[in-house]
């Protein structure tokens, strides 16, 4: 399904090299005293309570937390889909006021345009940006090759497996050369085998592009395997209650999950989550 040869080839890719140089200064995210409340008056529901956070250019961040704790809401605030009720999100010093091509978004599933071929899906960003047909086609080819799906260029999304569709989703987001890649449980709907391969593949892509990645997940192993830093979120209203650096060496391969360092980190994460789940459980019973 995925040969290691093109992962290696990624590092040498001219676009990847160009991006790496730019990335050293772009993609800084500042979340400054953000709270997010849905609804008003009696129906008001606070999804995210006061959160401040700084993400360095090129960093790989995982937001870890139980479902419903506000991970997506926080991510959507960075993406610009949700406006913070108080506070502000800035990317490279500019305040986020809406979605934009500088922040690529990868969703859990069903986010490819079903009426567009794989090639057209990937070329969507360049196309709406008004690039020429040749440029769009060249960009699409580059990214098709990057995710190893050149053979499927003229297929429609429904003709691809879930894992392939997510690779297209990643390629489509990257085809805009964003400085930030936002991913909302992108592998959550995949089977365990495919998920592991996708994680490795994502790390290879990230290593080549050095974009800032904010990756939302509720899977502890996934968070530790991928991240430079794992942010553990507490349940309703969501807030970041732990900021755990992951000092594991890179490049990482799946065997790392059996090392003592990994286990140690996992234990720490689980303790935080367990305390949080208990609290949420008790809240529900009162």
């Amino acid at each position: 399904m995925m040969e290691s040869s093109h992962i290696v080839a990624l590092n040498a890719h001219p676009i990847a090299r160009k991006r790496r140089i730019e990335a050293s200064s772009c993609g800084r995210i500042e979340i400054d005293n953000v709270t997010i409340t849905f609804g008003r008056g009696a129906a008001a529901h606070q999804a995210v309570s006061t959160t401040s956070l700084s993400i360095a250019p090129g960093e790989f961040i995982c937001i870890l937390g139980p479902s419903g704790c506000g991970k997506s809401t926080l991510l959507n605030a960075i993406a610009g889909y949700v406006e913070p009720t108080t506070g502000a999100v800035t990317v490279d010093g500019e305040r986020v006021t809406g979605p934009g091509p500088d922040r690529g978004m990868v969703f859990q599933q069903y986010s490819l345009f079903p009426w567009k071929t794989i090639r057209e899906n990937i070329a969507f960003g360049p196309m709406v940006a008004g690039h020429s047909r040749d440029e769009c086609s060249a960009t699409a080819n580059t990214f098709l090759e990057m995710v190893g799906l050149s053979k499927f260029a003229s297929k429609y999304p429904s003709e691809l497996s879930g894992g392939m569709q997510q690779r297209v989703g990643i390629a489509r987001a990257l085809a805009n050369y964003p400085t930030v890649l936002l991913m909302d449980e992108p592998f959550g709907a995949l089977d365990a085998q495919t998920r592991l391969m996708m994680q490795e593949h994502l790390l290879a892509i990230w290593n080549a592009f050095k974009v800032t990645v904010v990756f939302v997940t509720h899977d502890v192993d996934e968070a530790i395997f991928l991240a430079d830093r794992v942010l553990v979120m507490s349940a309703s209203p969501g807030a970041i209650m732990a900021d755990l650096p992951v000092p594991l060496p890179r490049p990482r391969d799946p065997d790392i999950a059996t090392t003592a360092d990994f286990m140690q980190l996992k234990k720490k994460c689980l303790e935080h989550i367990r305390a949080e789940s208990l609290k949420a459980f008790e809240q529900q019973n009162h």
Binding site: G80, P101, S111, F124, V128, Y156, A173
Partner: protein, 303 residues
């Protein structure tokens, strides 16, 4: 004898897959031969599956024709009266006569022209109104009462008022045709646009698409299956309405032709007109589907 004839034929084909190791030319031929064979087999399999049904359908039609023929031959008259009903053969004769008559084509062309004008107007206005209703709360609140009040009124009921309202008979018939197609198109377009996937709109936004680009590349294609269903239904209703208009007023058109045949006691032509109406309606609906097909290729392709 038969077995001896088939045997030598079958042998080279059976051997063919073993050829490749011997040389490239054989290797190139073998898959092609296998593919042809596969295609023929599939065609036979298809015939095997639908063949019996087709045969039954054909027998049913022929027996119907025969019953019709017998009923007219013996002047069947019990509840249903066949004494004035033309026999199938007379209808066929009348059809051949009409095919040689220039006026028959004028009737057809006049009907088709009315459909074309009324339907195209209904498509333009219907899609626009449907989109507006799905996208704007105001437009929906404004237009919906009209739809609720006017939709249950059949085209035939409009005829007297339409004749009073419009400057010519022609324009009143076109108006009725238009009205017939309008409602299914409006409602299906509205439902299609309402079904727009929020995730896809978000994806398009984060890829940098403008509102117009989102409409053109996300909302419209997503609504297309529903719109296309509305267009096909609209075409059917449009014919239905046209016929009502042509039978009651007008000097030309296939509906007028049919009714006029009755007035002139030219009974075989009634059936010729009826069959023509059915054929033209089916043809138009088919053309709508064919026209939409290239836009919906993605729907028929799945893993």
């Amino acid at each position: 004898m038969g077995a001896m004839q088939t045997k030598p034929k079958a042998t080279p084909e059976a051997v063919a897959p073993a050829v490749p190791p011997q040389g490239p030319p054989g290797a190139a031929e073998a898959p092609a031969a296998a593919r042809d064979k596969g295609r023929a087999e599939r065609a036979f399999a298809l015939l095997g599956r639908v063949g019996p049904d087709l045969a039954v359908g054909l027998v049913a039609l022929l027996s119907g024709l025969l019953l019709w023929h017998l009923a007219t031959l013996y002047n069947f008259n019990y509840v249903i009266n066949f004494q004035n009903v033309p026999s199938p053969l007379r209808v066929f004769d009348a059809f051949l006569t009409q095919l040689a008559d220039e006026e028959f084509y004028i009737h057809i062309l006049v009907s088709l022209r009315r459909i074309l004008i009324g339907y195209v107007l209904a498509v333009i206005l219907g899609v626009a109104a449907g989109v507006a209703m799905a996208r704007s709360r105001f437009a929906r609140a404004f237009i919906y009462p009209y739809i609720e009040i006017l939709r249950p009124i059949p085209a035939v009921a409009w005829i007297p008022l339409a004749i009073l309202m419009w400057p010519s008979e022609e324009s009143s018939i076109v108006y009725i045709t238009f009205l017939g197609a309008l409602f299914p198109i409006v409602l299906n377009t509205m439902h299609g646009v309402e079904q727009t996937s929020e995730v896809l709109v978000r994806a398009a936004k984060s890829l940098g698409a403008s509102r117009l680009q989102i409409f053109r590349h996300v909302i419209l294609p997503g609504a297309l299956p529903s719109i296309s269903a509305g267009l096909a239904i609209g075409m059917g209703v449009s014919w239905f309405s046209l016929l009502a208009g042509e039978i009651i007023s007008g000097q030309y058109g296939i509906g007028y032709f049919t009714w006029n045949a009755y007035s002139l006691i030219n009974y075989p032509d009634i059936v010729v007109g009826m069959l023509m109406i059915g054929a033209l309606g089916t043809l138009c609906t088919y053309l709508v589907r064919v026209a939409m097909r290239p836009l919906l290729v993605w729907q028929r392709r799945t893993r």
